[in-house]
Symmetry: D2
Subunit: 342 residues, 4 copies
């Protein structure tokens, strides 16, 4: 009953998941690893004392009969190839975001999956497993606040390194809001416009920081999404949905309350890795359980990966044009409409 997993890409995030699966979660075993750096793959086997084989490439790993499912945790441009190969062999795939680097490539994966005739792929948008977002989703679905009209959210990092460029505010940062927001309100995106507030002096010369994305959905919900990656004070994810009858807001990260030095305060996180650590655990456990027990994953689909890719493309275009840009998705295939989702 143990799910046998092969990991493609043993960099930081790959090792995190290997550790998670072998040390914290139930029902799965790492039986195979591979990396473009073969030496690294071998080291990982030793480091975590895995009963696993280091394969020379994704192709041989995927093809091996002993492998039930693969985790794609290589760098973005390599995702598509691995996912397509996995589908070809009928293997389950958990693919870290992005599913692929272009909308066209995502569509190729979608077509492959539809042709295969069975859902195999889950995309790694972990926020859907965060307890706060799950509570928000439930509240919205139960019409606690009536119809959603507006969303205000913010994604703030303490700082970023010198390689972080303006478009990464979309593809690395806003991408998580892109996935979670349409899911929260059961809607699709229609258009986006980007505004650049006064630039913080704490960002590099070349980086626009902060940025505000004004995104509209098909039903007219107005989303103001702030990305501020050198905010200095903490790693802070805010999300508030304003509906016809009320408002629902993501909780603050729980923390002891301290009264000291004429202040009453709680701690904020500074490291993004601490924010969704529980969500990562729940996400991977859900992948393991769904595949093992129901024969297909239940998390974000290839179509969700495609939505993210299309929307991110248009957001980057809007960053450059300064204009309101349309987001054109096409019709959701029936294949994905009929899925049972978590």
């Amino acid at each position: 009953m143990t799910l046998k997993i092969g990991v493609i890409g043993t960099g930081a995030i790959g090792r995190e998941h290997i550790k998670r699966i072998s040390k914290k979660l139930a029902g799965a075993e790492i039986v195979a690893v591979t990396d473009v750096n073969q030496q690294l793959a071998k080291q990982v086997v030793e480091q975590f004392q895995l009963n696993a084989i280091a394969y020379p490439d994704d192709k041989t790993l995927i093809a091996n009969e002993n492998v039930d499912a693969v985790l794609v945790t290589s760098w973005g441009p390599a995702h598509k190839g691995s996912v397509l190969k996995a589908i070809e062999h009928g293997k389950y795939v958990f693919c870290e975001k992005p599913l692929a680097t272009t909308a066209e490539d995502c569509m190729e994966i979608i077509n492959a999956e539809i042709n295969y005739g069975k859902r195999l792929v889950q995309v790694g948008f972990m926020r859907r497993y965060d307890k706060g977002y799950v509570q928000m989703k439930e509240a919205i679905d139960q019409k606690i606040i009536g119809e959603p009209l507006m969303i205000r959210c913010a994604h703030r990092n303490v700082s970023v390194d010198e390689n972080y460029t303006t478009d990464m505010a979309v593809v690395d940062t806003l991408i998580h809001e892109i996935d979670i927001l349409h899911w929260l309100v059961n809607d699709d995106y229609q258009s986006v416009q980007v505004f650049y507030p006064k630039k913080t002096r704490n960002a590099l010369e070349t980086l626009r920081d902060p940025q505000i994305f004004l995104i509209e959905t098909r039903s007219g919900i107005a989303i103001t999404a702030e990305v501020f990656v050198n905010c200095k004070y903490g790693y802070d994810i805010q999300c508030e949905i304003i509906g016809e009858e009320g408002i629902v807001k993501l909780p603050e990260v729980p923390s002891i309350v301290v009264r000291k030095d004429a202040q009453l305060g709680v701690n904020l996180l500074t490291d993004w890795k601490d924010r969704f650590v529980d969500a990562y655990d729940i996400e991977i456990q859900d992948f393991i359980d769904s595949v093992s027990e129901k024969g297909e994953p239940q998390g974000p689909t290839s179509w969700d990966g495609y939505i993210a890719a299309v929307t991110a493309d248009v957001c980057v275009k809007a960053q450059q044009s300064g204009q309101k840009e349309e987001i054109i998705l096409g019709e959701k295939p029936d294949f994905y409409k009929n899925l049972q989702q978590a």
Copy 2:
């Protein structure tokens, strides 16, 4: 030492101030009243047992030697005439918003005041006396959060009556944010663009509700100001300023904390009159004290009234055009630059 005040306009807000001055505040006395409805003015004298004369019009009230200062609480279109007459007679004026209904009329008042050679006029933007906003202003001035980069604010009413039209979202509602925000960040407005989110079904057919105003300042601060006047859940004023080093946010209205029925909650207001009642008291007391002790008011100036009028005009234009519209203020006269302000 008692300031002798004449009140022009004895409608709801006029009576509120009469009650305030005669029953709650120190240092002033209502000695004169007038209203277009002369019967009403006389009733007010009786109702509050004032030792005051009901004059036939603003002109005779202002001209009377016994009157040191006037409160202009008539309807908006009548403000300009009363304020100009008061300046002509060298009387102090506390004028409820708007100072005048057009930017040109405000400028006429400004020129009259400059020509008179002494500051006489205070405009009734009471939020500057709200303890929360005052604390925010102090924090910003002390650079607690570094340079302000963005402001997120919301002005929400439970509901409005059937006479409330889309442009009133600016001239009656957003007008308070217009005044307070430039004061908070010591900046001037540059442009505004309006967005209409999905409309709430709780608003009348003809009213756009909610609305989002994206206002930029000269230095580049990006303000997203929501107006939502049928929000149903409460009267709620939110304001958050995001700076280079941190964020400062207006406090919630204090309330007992109740644990009951699986909820931990505080009460929200529903009536706007309860929100700034303390601010109104402090505002009028400050007008009385400043005039009595320093010989001139210290609150919002005619120039602030002009800023509000110009900005409101452009906001209404932007409501109609859907485009980004420029806000052109002209240079602040030296007369107002040199004032000592509270």
Copy 3:
């Protein structure tokens, strides 16, 4: 219609009230002052530019026909004499706590007031005018939390000076809880026991600090009241009432919310004078208005002053004995039962 007030005792609290009445409140005028230090009384007249006479003693001040009401703000041991003289002359009295320094003296005042046949005296327990406590009282009276069963409260000061002795934790500090708690729950005290937790090293050798008072009411409500006068972190008044159906808690002092340096926090007060400044204003305005409009004060009565005195005596006894001590009040006179109270 202006209430003419004489002030007996022009020390710190006396001057505060003089300033309040002449600069912030409506409907009263300081017409007379006196102090054991006659020079000080005269200085006060000048300092606040009062249109008032400095009398040589309380007797002549009270006797003067021009004086409608007196404020007793002398030191505690002098209160009784002034209050009795005022009653004798049928003058209204606002007496700062304590009404008198012993229960017997309070009873003498009570008898004098009953004999005079009309309520004249209000004792200066300002917390009853604090908005938070008023909201708590309303919630309890409306049975929001059902029958109260327990109260947890704390009275914390940053620090005290070297003259502060262990019994002052009762007579200067806990005295405010003593007054407010029986009022909040409409009950009388039955017994008290004192516990001394580990002593803070921030207190002087001779001072027991903190202290915990376990007070029981006649109906069995258990109150745990902490007094901690060298708590260092702030001036903090906490009160929470646990009832059969829920809990109600005093709000924190409102403050802007700051996110900075990995902390999300609000400011706490450090100076006790800032905590109840609004309550003092409302209290004195209520005294003025009630006396002027209804012909008698509505705030805490002489009987409340007596309850405080009796209870404080027993608390001090319990501090010394370490035992549970009974609080014996006697029956509340009908005179006080029938009063209309705010």
Copy 4:
């Protein structure tokens, strides 16, 4: 590397742990079960599709070579026997509270463990693995609030069934506070006194509810611990530690924040099982990891079980006597002093 676990007692809590180990956690396998109801044990094997043998009794289960560690989740009176047998066979034991039903029996286990010469036993006090308590512990150990002087805590349940008796407020409810508080402040208990506030009408006739325990530690920390098991409004665990320099307080359970119907609120739990679900997971994972990797458990020891038993006994005595009762522990054996603890 997989820890092979036998479960003694397959009632509710036993099944919870079986599910946890087989479905959520890593590194362990259920290989054996037993229950006084042998039928039940067999059903559990089927229900969870365990690769496990149902043994006739604890003795044979423990003796089996295939079993590395046992979970004792039978009813309290049976714990001692199973734990002693496990020690005899050198098997690791995770024993749900209580370790044994009397202090003497706990001491017998302690002596057995010391004689065996190696730590084998962990007692199931899961709160030590709750993130909020862990943060409090860190803050205290880092002297954030200076020396602890007082603790205020509360343990509140919505309601209890008709079998819940007054002493169960200690042995079933307060027992968790007994374990966690001495751990938080690194101190031992000295005495306890019980107070009975006014009784809620929502409790059965025969049950004293609420109750207040005033517990003092050796160093003089004063703990006021409220137990209120028919509080109606929610399942609520409160803990606040007042130190010389500040206060630290357990966080509220995180929840979305809702503005609706003139209320700003968060949800409270009503079911105790939801409160510490994460702590249970972390606790059992830590037992598995510590035993597997370090060769001994790191959680609460037999000595902690003994402290709980002694203290609970005295608390029950104090419930009955109404007097202050001494808690006499004896000296902690060196064996337990020298342990490496989590």
